[in-house]
Amino acid sequence: MRFPVKTISLAVASAFIVFGCGKEAPPPPKAEQPAAPPAKPTVTVKIGHSSPLTGPQAHLGKDNENGARLAIEEANAKKLEIGGAMVTFELLGEDDQADPKQGTTVAQKLIDAKVNGVVGHLNSGTTIPASKLYADAGIPQISPSATNPKYTQQGFKTAYRVMANDEQQGKVLGDYATKQLAGKKIAIVDDRTAYGQGVADEFEKAAKAGGGAIVAREFTNDKATDFAAILTKIKSKKPDLIMYGGMDAQAGPMAQQLKKLGVKSRMIFADGGCTTEFHKLAGDAGEGHYCSLPGLPLEKMPGGKAFIDKYKATFNLDIQLYAPYAYDAASVMIDAMKRANSVEPAKYLAELPKTAFDGVTAKIAFDERGDVKDAAITLYQAKGGKWEALESIGGAPAPAQPAAMEGVSGMSGMGAAPAPAAPAASTEKK
């Protein structure tokens, strides 16, 4: 039972309070209309955002949008001056319903609205087809959470992401499953989305390389709630581990149904299921399962603690999953505009490869494909209704090489921790 209008206006109000006292920035808290100094022209910069705001992933979609909104409100409160004009950022939040077809419709809509950049989309399935449209229109796109490797491998100069991709994540998971968890017989289920299938395929490769046998490869979809049939089949194969490539809305009920069928095998899944929502949906049945998240645990992120407080104060909601990444994606974009001293897509696009930004999630720099450099991946296990960080694996270059796995390290030596700023100035995107 919530009343969005009230919440939003409260949120906006509290946002200004937070920025007023929490920031070192000199401008005192001001009311909504940023009365521009008479001499300088003002420019409104539209930043598009796209995520599923309706449908089964709406909770994650809104989370992303809130993350981007926070970054933009913060930038507005700072009263930036770019190219001699006072800049006001405006977020155009669109709903792509996690549907690839709708994703391209939304992309075209944002392009027609002449956005200066796009933060999004949330899903790989929508991000990949939309990226072609943005590339053709020359609009920079930074996805907070699309992790399918293909996104940045299409050769588009406009495509960036601030999160480790599935190649890296699937590999880490597959390796962890066969080595640390000593899984010999492994069953794999995926939800047939670009994301779920991608991460499951990478997992399968790594698990086979690690000596595991894939005893079952089953499929569901991203709207399903009943998994009894495939789980029954999996049960008959008696696997040590069950890998699921998909989102929390399926992973939670799947854990419950496993328990109901009397299967003792643990599940292991990637970031899509690694949410607080999983515990709510799985209840007791969630205990003991494993998952991985790109990046560091929120509390261990360079700016994690402050971000949690800020988000809570602004929206009065808990962070679901990717909000810090959406925040960083929007911040990186604004940062590039500042350095280019222009909001023109063509001009600040040239600055994006040179990014060296102290984000909430990590120190962000891009490689030549647009993937984030030195992406860390952390493994978690469900204990007492919470995800408990087991270890972080990092320091791998974004295009994951077989050697990437050597850098297994304890909690102390994570690659993406305050590493010295990468000398990123030279890497020009192809």
Partner: protein
């Protein structure tokens, strides 16, 4: 063998839920010749209403079964009122309009209900509190929980009750008369407005029960859950012969079994060529086969009379 029995159990539980929802589609179609696409959303509202009540009472110290029953009792009148209102607002004014018009309003009502539920209950998934006993029984190596046993038994009891109502009572006779020919039934002294309202009330009450069953079995409820469920139940109704009550039950149970066995064995039967993601393809393939040989469904009556 135990895997096979388990798949049959999975299919029966799923099929019982489909059957209950399918009854709502088929009753309305039988009487009005209208496909009430908002029916799936009524199931969703029922599930979320019950869940809200159950969450409020979860810590009250009452036994879990009692709490769920109270939730169910709260959901049934809400859904009945909703079904009644939908018919009054969206279908009755269009009763003599071309067939397509009420179909469009049905889809409209479905979207409106979904969005209202999203505003009211939010976008997040709602978990069913773990208050029901997680105990179960083993049958030949297969496992069935008490909740699932209750679902199947309750569904059978409700369907039997409905058959009695339609075939043995005055109201049932009036419903059958209205289904056959509303004008003539009206001339014979049947108040068809009341009969149609009663149909919506009964169908919506069944939807509420199905909604509680779904959320109790899968421990999850969401404003979007009605869409797929409604679609599957509609398919079940068509499979069994839309407009025919035993047909809807048969269709529901069959669809549940087909999906379950399809997902379980299709991979092995085709040597891994087709996987479990073809379970829906398999279900619809069976539907097409049935419709080719029996265009009005397994137990459907001649369509010509209605058209």
């Amino acid at each position: 063998m135990d895997t096979f029995i388990q798949q049959i159990i999975n299919g029966l539980v799923l099929g019982s839920i489909y059957a209950l929802v399918a009854l709502g589609y088929t009753m309305v179609y039988g009487i009005l010749g209208l496909i009430n696409f908002a029916h799936g959303e009524v199931v969703m509202i029922g599930a979320l209403t019950a869940l809200t009540v159950i969450k409020l009472l979860a810590d009250s110290g009452l036994p879990g079964t009692v709490v769920v029953l109270i939730g169910l009792l709260a959901a049934v009148p809400v859904c009945m009122a909703l079904g009644f209102t939908i018919e009054r607002i969206a279908y009755r004014p269009l009763r003599n309009a071309p067939r397509l018009a009420p179909l469009i309003t049905a889809i409209g009502v479905s979207i409106v209900l979904q969005q209202l539920a999203m505003i009211f209950w939010g976008r997040n998934y709602h978990a069913f509190p773990p208050i029901l006993p997680a105990t179960g029984r083993d049958i030949g190596g297969a496992h069935i929980t008490d909740v699932q046993i209750a679902i199947v038994l309750l569904a059978v009891a409700i369907m039997a009750g409905l058959m009695l109502l339609v075939n043995r009572t005055r109201l049932g006779r009036a419903m059958r008369a209205t289904a056959e020919n509303p004008q003539i039934a009206g001339l014979m002294g049947v108040n068809i407005n009341i009969i149609i309202s009663a149909t919506f009330l009964i169908g919506s009450a069944l939807a509420a029960v199905a909604g509680v069953m779904v959320s109790a079995n899968y421990s999850i409820a969401h404003y979007h859950m009605g869409f797929i469920l409604g679609l599957k139940a509609f398919t079940a109704a068509v499979l069994g012969g839309i407009g025919n009550l035993p047909g809807a039950m048969l269709g529901g149970v069959l669809l549940g079994l087909i999906e379950s066995l399809g997902a379980g064995y299709i991979g092995d039967l085709t040597g891994g060529f087709l996987g479990s993601h073809y379970q829906d393809v398999f279900a619809f393939f069976v539907l097409i086969l049935v419709l080719v040989f029996r265009p009005s469904g397994l137990m459907g009556e001649k369509v010509s009379e209605r058209a």
